[in-house]
Amino acid sequence: MGIDMTGTFGADFLVRWLAAVAEAVDREAEHLTELDSAIGDADHGANLTRGFAAVTETLAKEPPATPGAVLASAGRQLISTVGGASGPLYGTLLRRTGKTLGDGDRVTREQLAEALGSGVAAVAQLGGAQVGDKTMLDALVPAVQGLRESFAAARAAAEEGALATVPLRARKGRASYLGERSVGHQDPGATSSALLFAALDETALAEAGRTEGAS
């Protein structure tokens, strides 16, 4: 029931996406922490692993009925369990996205892109950052743009955006204290944001396989 014939997604698809994100941040935790120790406080990997583990645990225990409710629940969990700036930032991203999706049973990719757009805008407002500041927005903004086209385009745009943070000078958060010394390092937040969209693409691919297998 992930993707039906008309290309819409149910709550179960969003739950599988977040489970895939939890796996990805756990797998990449060491890499994220390594990037974060260069220009941050070396807790990004551990913080996200803890946060998304709590997300999947809660979703398994109390599975919400709609895609919007899945994301709202995940957002709340991240805000309350992460302990670093990524908690309120990713929490706000998912919660606002969930709120924008509303209480429909199924959503299209286009609707998800639209809702994620509002989530990204909320993140920008919360952190007071914009594209080019060497933050997660450098991956999120192009990813949402790409998602209007396809899951694969979103993934590619996010990964490209994360890589493009390397030559940038950080203007927000702890890394901004480093000034020029932040140049030459890939931003950990943009890197984890790219993991979210890689996981989304993988979940969609797996889902297409399931649907084909079933028909």
């Binding site: 700036a85 309120p88 929490g91």
Partner: protein, 148 residues
């Protein structure tokens, strides 16, 4: 915010309950010590309630929404809660909690102020009966005090 609002009793709406103050730091030791400092410098008489919310529940450095919400409930007397924060995730977590709208007491407010000086100014003003606007204004005004 006007110069005339300088007296400690400014903004006293006549309500008998004081504004509560929460001090959010990445470090439990910092939050606790600043609360202690503010109580010490605020002088005698009845002090408004002030509680620290520092670090993570396991004692590490970071920000805990759980500790923040517990502290806010602990100081809430119905006259509002002024929340002062140090930096980074402390700022973002309180903003995100306020946007969420149901975990913090109603009329909780993030106050834009220097952490140490703002805590002292907030506690003095709240203890003198200032309302939430007066407490927030006094704490923010601490930014204007230049040290050289």
């Amino acid at each position: 915010m006007s110069g005339a609002a300088g007296s400690a009793g400014a903004g006293n709406g006549g309500g008998s309950q004081p504004v509560g103050i929460v001090l959010v730091s990445h470090s439990s030791a910092v939050a606790t010590a600043v609360a202690e400092l503010a109580r010490g410098l605020a002088g005698g008489g009845d002090l408004a309630p002030v509680l620290p919310a520092g670090g993570t529940p396991d004692g590490g450095l970071g920000t805990s929404s759980e500790l923040i919400c517990a502290a806010a409930k602990g100081v809430d007397r119905g006259a509002g809660v002024a929340i002062l924060v140090d930096l980074g995730s402390a700022v973002l977590t309180v903003k995100a909690l306020l946007a969420e709208g149901d975990d913090l007491p109603e009329s909780s407010r993030l106050v834009d102020a220097p952490f140490v000086e703002g805590a002292v100014a907030a506690l003095v003003t709240a203890s003198a009966g200032g309302d939430l606007d007066a407490v927030a204004a006094a704490a923010s005004e601490a930014y204007a005090y230049r040290k050289e």
